[in-house]
């Protein structure tokens, strides 16, 4: 009874969020250059990007179309690797002058003490760093033998700041699934307070590497790991919002699954395209800052994001969880969009160890 009421209320809440579609979270793909060449990269970034970095002034021009800043609004610098740009701090200060908060996702390779201080000085308030295993498995995925050591330095710096709202993300794969306990211990020893776990979806370079994708049993193992360790208080562990996880919904995250792409989350991509999360298929682009008013596009377009009935196809068509899942994470719709790329709930149900909880 309570569970039914909770589900019903959450659906109503989700409907009202879609109707209001307040922009709370804006990614800026400020570069597609990267200093690493990760095996799982969803955006196929490389040292020599096809695109030039977007000038700060162009991004600010788009930002300035937002006349009233919504509550809890954050600009998230992403890439590529944002720290390859020397003007992140300048852009951050310009955002703060306008009343916007900002944060950054980084691989940590260039995050040294000097940069840590200059980013804090420029008003950075949140940070996410990727750690993908213990030394061997991390360096394997990151395709760089020095990545882990540099990352540990970055984590120690970030964890030392009481100002930063900071977390670690880990892409769980075949090489690190058995290391989760040790990674957890490592993070606790580094005073990390929050850890988000992902799986890798088969897009970009990951599409052609089976080592990166979890089997159904391994996915269930991951759910169990998170469920077990959420009950302890040393570190806040959660599953990312990448997909609907059926019976694990209330056990692995703070809130029920709700993909807010295009509802509360927007992006300005490297070529000026306006979309939602950067890993979403580029065919969903809604406009371009070089010819459209960014905020008008946000207010008046984004229809496929706000009405997802078109996702009721393929395995979603007859699924009895559709009302709660709504086609899973939007980034799971690529190519011809005839079927969802990954169904997390199905992975759990298909696992041999069905009756763990």
């Amino acid at each position: 009874m309570l569970s039914t009421l909770k589900k019903y209320s959450f659906r109503k809440f989700r409907d009202s969020e879609i109707k209001n579609h307040e922009l709370n979270y804006l990614f800026w793909e400020c570069t597609t250059r990267c200093n690493l060449n990760c095996l799982h990269c969803g955006s196929d970034c490389s040292k020599d990007s096809l695109h030039n970095d977007m000038p700060v002034e162009d991004f600010l021009m788009a930002i300035d179309t937002i006349k009233k800043i919504p509550k809890n609004f954050t600009v998230v610098f992403t890439g590529g690797e944002p720290l390859l740009r020397k003007d992140i701090e300048y852009c951050g200060k310009e955002l703060r002058k306008r009343g916007f908060r900002w944060s950054m996702v980084t691989n940590g390779h260039l995050y040294d003490k000097e940069r840590h201080i200059s980013l804090l000085n420029a008003g950075m308030g949140a940070l996410t760093i990727s750690l993908d295993g213990l030394i061997e498995s991390h360096n394997w995925l990151r395709n760089n033998s020095h990545s882990f050591d540099k990352l540990m330095n970055a984590i120690e710096l970030a964890a030392s700041s009481s100002r930063l709202n900071f977390d670690i993300v880990t892409c769980v794969n075949q090489k690190n699934i058995n290391e989760l306990d040790k990674i957890r211990e490592l993070l606790i020893s580094k005073n990390v307070k929050a850890w988000r776990l992902f799986t890798i979806i088969p897009i970009g370079r990951a599409a052609s590497n089976d080592n990166l994708l979890l089997t159904d049993d391994q996915f269930l193992e991951l759910m169990e790991f998170i469920n077990q360790h959420r009950k302890t208080k040393e570190i806040d562990i959660k599953f990312s919002c990448e997909g609907y996880v059926g019976r694990y919904e209330s056990k692995v995250r703070d809130t029920s699954f709700f993909c807010r792409a295009g509802i509360n989350i927007g992006s300005i991509l490297i070529d000026g395209s306006i979309s939602a999360c950067p890993n979403i298929d580029r065919s969903f682009v809604q406009g371009n800052i070089y010819k459209d008013n960014f905020f008008k596009v946000w207010e008046n377009k984004f229809h496929p994001f706000r009405n997802r009935i078109w996702t009721k196809t393929g395995k979603c068509e007859l699924c009895d969880s559709y009302k709660d899942c709504n086609g899973n994470g939007f980034h799971n719709w690529h190519g011809e969009k005839k079927n969802v790329l990954v169904c997390h709930k199905e992975k759990i149900e298909n696992s041999i160890c069905k009756n763990v909880i």
């Binding site: 909770k6 996702v105 804090l120 977390d167 993300v169 919002c241 703070d254």
Partner: protein, 121 residues
Amino acid sequence: MKKDWIRKAVGGLSLTSALFIFQACYGTPQDLAPDILIEGQVRSLSSGLPIQGIKVSVTDNMQYQMTDNEGKFSFYTEMLTGLTINFQDIDSLQNGHYMDKDTVLTNLSGNVYLDIALQEK
């Protein structure tokens, strides 16, 4: 305002916390912590001229910034009930030679502008 109230009420009924403090799959946590912009200018007490190269730092915090050629500095830091800002001449005789100074800030509620005069050694 009404829209926000309805949002909170309906969200609250679903008995989950953190409904409004979400993060995107591949994004960062949201930044909700209070901070403060501290800016100002450092001049020579005797000449009134700006001093370049003074280290402006926050006690018990690794943050610092050097003053520019107009003696100016500007940085964000964590909002605490009290902050001590240190001004140190660390470049020896280059740009003059000045005594250190500490400024204690209390009852902070908004951004701060500091006009600092340093005494020559």
